[in-house]
């Protein structure tokens, strides 16, 4: 750690991992409800579990993005953070807001929560991923603005590297597009059309700038490859991302009432969306092969390469599987979508955040470069457990989805939704087992922070 103020990143990372645990636990509850329909009913109905699952994901990813920014921006800018106090304050504001919101989900019925938070004044609740009460949304905007101000001022007064600029653009875009969460017209088609400006333009747009910047930072630090090389490829990759991804939004406009030309525009451009992910994979492996030194933090490197591969598989390949409109006609809103969602979020955003946590945490905990060997071994085990479990979750959901599309939408005698769900329950059981393995991986991951802490720090032979 080169700057004192980088330390504010630590609570963000810890809270992020805690929320990650909550996310996975509620995921397991939902997974079980898929096959044991009355599990925890009516105490925790499926919709509540799902809200906690998805909202915890979003909040922990945002927390980790913020932690990553607080860690890497001062180091890149070569100056202390503009206001560490503000960063810490915002951490608590964000954490309390998130905790209160989750408590609201679990303790109150959703309609009561809507009433208590006066949703009727500015109705924004009850839309997928944007279930937070309006007041929480306003809180998110305030935290985001304070965060951007803090980061922006730091970058302004320090060295302006490409990594910092790309990160800042991504974070600014994140804040700007979130504003569409407040637009909720009574016209459902308009509602859905602009809802995607938050969701798609986040995950297939500006978030990828953040991903690219964090990945580039970790590669610069761990491989010692010339920054100039990494930065120009970063530009090319994010350029391709936005070139394909912005019009690629069209793949969400096929069946929600928008004009039918979106089927062509959306199909053509989103068919190209795997390209930037493929470039990222090739780029990451090339940089690692050209490394000038062997960094003692092996797990960080593993997570970085894992991100590049799994983002390509989850976002690129699994996205392409059902993005062409003639295919999507049968797979839209099926378990195929769930399969893609799981691997894409894990591969792109969960893994990049663990990458930066893996790189930064040993330094934040006062080590020179890396954890002791034993801790590293545990962490690498957790990598394989979680990643392989996620691959299987994805495969089982894909199997479920293919069968679902066939039985419910394509066969001779299309069958009702619930009848089909019964028939594919085997896949849901298998998915749940894979989910349990994922949880074990997560436990191993958390344990890796505690094992062998008194051992000497790992070093490389060179």
């Amino acid at each position: 750690m080169q700057y004192q103020s980088q330390a504010v990143a630590k609570p963000y990372f810890i809270a992020a991992i805690a929320l990650f645990v909550a996310q996975v636990l509620f995921g397991l509850i939902m997974g079980l409800q898929y096959v044991v329909g009355d599990f925890l009913f009516p105490e925790i109905p499926f919709n509540v579990a799902r809200m906690v699952h998805t909202n915890a994901l979003i909040v922990w990813l945002l927390m980790a993005f913020m932690g990553a920014s607080y860690y890497l921006v001062p180091e890149e800018a070569e100056t202390e953070l503009y206001s560490p106090g503000l960063a810490t304050l915002m951490f608590w504001v964000f954490l309390v807001a998130a905790a209160l919101t989750v408590a609201g989900y679990l303790l109150l019925s959703y309609s009561t929560l809507a009433e208590v938070t006066m949703n009727k004044l500015l109705p924004t609740m009850g839309r997928e991923f944007l279930e937070q009460p309006t007041i929480t949304k306003i809180g998110i905007v305030i935290v985001a603005l304070a965060f951007l101000f803090n980061i922006g001022m730091t970058i302004l007064r320090g060295r302006k590297t490409v990594i910092n600029l790309v990160l800042l653009m991504g974070l600014t875009g994140l804040a700007v597009f979130f504003l569409f969460a407040f637009y909720n017209p009574e016209n459902l088609v308009l509602d859905k059309y602009f809802w995607w400006w938050v969701v798609h333009l986040w995950v297939e747009g500006v978030w990828e700038l953040i991903l690219g910047a964090i990945l580039a930072f970790v590669l610069v630090k761990t491989t010692g490859v010339d920054r100039e090389v990494i930065e120009k490829w970063l530009y090319v990759i994010i350029a391709m991302t936005l070139i394909t991804g912005i019009i690629g939004t069209g793949h969400h406009y096929y069946w929600i009432g928008a004009p039918e030309y979106w089927q062509w525009w959306g199909s053509i451009f989103s068919a190209m969306e795997p390209i930037p992910f493929f470039m990222m994979t090739v780029f990451a492996f090339n940089i690692v092969n050209k490394r000038r030194r062997d960094h003692p933090n092996k797990p960080a490197m593993l997570w970085a390469l894992g991100t590049a591969v799994m983002a390509f598989l989850g976002a690129g390949v699994w996205g392409f599987l059902h993005t062409l409109s003639p295919v999507n006609y049968y797979t839209h809103g099926s378990q195929i979508t769930a399969a893609h969602g799981h691997m894409a979020f894990y591969g792109a955003y969960v893994m990049i955040n663990i990458t930066i946590i893996s790189y930064a945490m040993p330094l934040l905990r006062g080590r020179n470069a890396a954890n002791p060997l034993k801790s590293q071994v545990w962490e690498m085990w957790s990598f394989w457990l979680m990643t392989i479990a996620m691959v299987f979750i994805t495969l089982f959901l894909t199997g479920a989805g293919i069968l679902q599309a066939y039985l419910q939408r394509m066969g001779e005698n299309p069958q009702p939704f619930m009848v089909v769900q019964e028939q594919i329950s085997l896949f849901y059981w298998l998915r749940e087992i894979a989910g349990v393995i994922f949880l074990i991986g997560l436990v191993v991951y958390i344990a890796s922070f505690f094992v062998g802490q008194n051992d000497p720090e790992a070093t490389t032979a060179s």
């Binding site: 530009y235 391709m240 070139i243 004009p259 039918e260 030309y261 053509i268 451009f269 190209m272």
Partner: protein, 193 residues
């Protein structure tokens, strides 16, 4: 050194690698669009043939000639900077830009005509393709002109020389790509039936 390069085969195309990656991506999109046009037409031959006749072929011919000519002017601009003649380089670029402008004007007149007839992307599948392809290309002409204009300004300010003129070559390559796409688009959409 410079002369060697024009005689001996080089390993790389003229211009910056980044612009070539961009060109590759653009060409891929257009290629998919062209194939999609051809195969969609297969299912609606009568409709495509009927509405193709409503297009203005004279305007398209003028535009074809304008783009080919501007491409040629850009070749002259590159060749001028290669011998270090900045002034002529700028003049050729301005000439190319004026041809680009001609294209934009002619195409805009066509669009105004369509608009007054109430034709839009949702009129039918032929107009969907016609408008999508030509408008996407239209935006590329604007983009190419912005690049050429930027290069002309930098050339005028003396940023390029006989030794270092990668920027001119990059812009030229992009502009030729815009021309190249139109060379296929024109017969495919306006002529072939």
């Amino acid at each position: 050194m410079t002369a060697d390069r024009s005689v001996l085969p080089s390993n790389y195309p003229p211009g910056d690698l980044a612009i070539w990656i961009f060109i590759l991506a653009e060409l891929a999109v257009f290629a998919i669009f062209f194939a999609a046009y051809a195969f969609t037409r297969l299912q609606h031959v009568a409709l495509f043939n009927e509405h193709q006749l409503t297009l203005d072929r004279e305007a398209a011919l003028i535009n074809t000639l304008a783009l080919i000519t501007s491409s040629y002017f850009v070749v002259r601009a590159v060749s001028a900077i290669k011998v270090g003649d900045r002034r002529r380089c700028v003049h050729w670029l301005l000439a190319a830009l004026s041809m680009g402008l001609l294209f934009l004007i002619v195409k805009s007149v066509e669009y105004v005509q369509h608009y007054s007839e109430g034709i839009n992307l949702s009129s039918n599948i032929f107009y969907m393709f016609y408008l999508s392809l030509t408008f996407f290309h239209f935006m590329h002409v604007i983009m190419g002109m912005v690049i050429l204009a930027a290069i002309a300004v930098m050339a005028a300010r003396g940023r390029y020389s006989r030794q270092e003129h990668t920027g001119v070559e990059s812009g030229a390559s992009y502009w030729h790509m815009v021309d190249l796409v139109w060379l296929i688009l024109f017969p495919l959409v306006y002529v072939m039936r």
